[in-house]
Amino acid sequence: MKSAVLVFPGINRERDMARTLKLISGAEPAMVWHTDTQLPAGTDLVVIPGGFSYGDYLRCGAIAARSPIMDAVRKFAAGGGLVLGVCNGFQILCEAELLPGVLMRNENLRFICREVFLRVERSDTPFTRGYNAGQVIRVPVAHGEGNYIADGETIARLEGEGRVIFRYCSPDGMIDPNWNHNGAINAIAGIVSDKGNVLGMMPHPENHVEASVSPTDGRGLFAGLAEALERAA
């Protein structure tokens, strides 16, 4: 796995992400500054981490989505390259139009920082091959704007094409408004692009990978990715 972690001013989860990528794949990721115009040669995974790029000015992710490195990411994604955006990374992917829809202010207007339960909807993607379909995982969220919305036609298409990959759920996997913390439509926590190679998700799987500090439910995502990329190589 030759991963690249994008770094924008105001991003603050890039070290967590880099540490997890190294821990699981054994390979040190490249840290790529936002003004760069090219990804390192041989990059097979681009990760956009969480944080508050440009202080969330204008709209979350809006300014980062228009930075020079994003043209390279667009090209990489168009060629089928795997892109993972977490939290602010998801917001940036939506603003960059690499994923449809938008993340609005949480329905309860509060910043939510807690563990949540996610139902993994599919296991046949490079991002979720480390899980079983229907499996419930426990990972943390930390966001003020995670309330996913898109127009009705887009939501119908996402659902029809099986592009909703993670949903907020109860500990036993039920979709329930009481467990849909930010009010996202259809409890959507993560979606993939039409070609399935770009994943955006609000929760932070990179923070639940080490048994000494937390549950390890996030490992499956990175272990699955590393395995998928190893097979492709």
Partner: protein, 80 residues
């Protein structure tokens, strides 16, 4: 030349901030408010004096950055 771009949420898009402001107005005793929707205003200064050119430029600015047209509408006013 001075201009103003006003960005508003499309109808049908839930506006939790507007709802909170609406509730706050009610609790302050400001009577008769039936709905609040929050938006953004950009006051912009431009080179040149051609209004049509200014409008085209501002439209480009709004489409490219100032508004997310998935959820927002915008209006361009060249104030002269």
């Amino acid at each position: 030349m001075k201009a103003r771009v006003t960005v508003t949420l499309k109808s049908g898009i839930l506006d939790p901030q507007g709802k909170a402001i609406e509730g706050a107005l009610r609790s302050l005793g400001v009577e008769g408010v039936t709905a609040v929707r929050q938006g953004k205003v950009f006051d912009i200064e431009l080179e040149g004096t051609d209004r049509a050119q200014a409008e085209a430029l501002l439209k480009q600015a709004a489409d490219k950055l100032l508004a997310n047209t998935v959820i927002e509408n915008y209006r361009v006013d060249v104030l002269g």
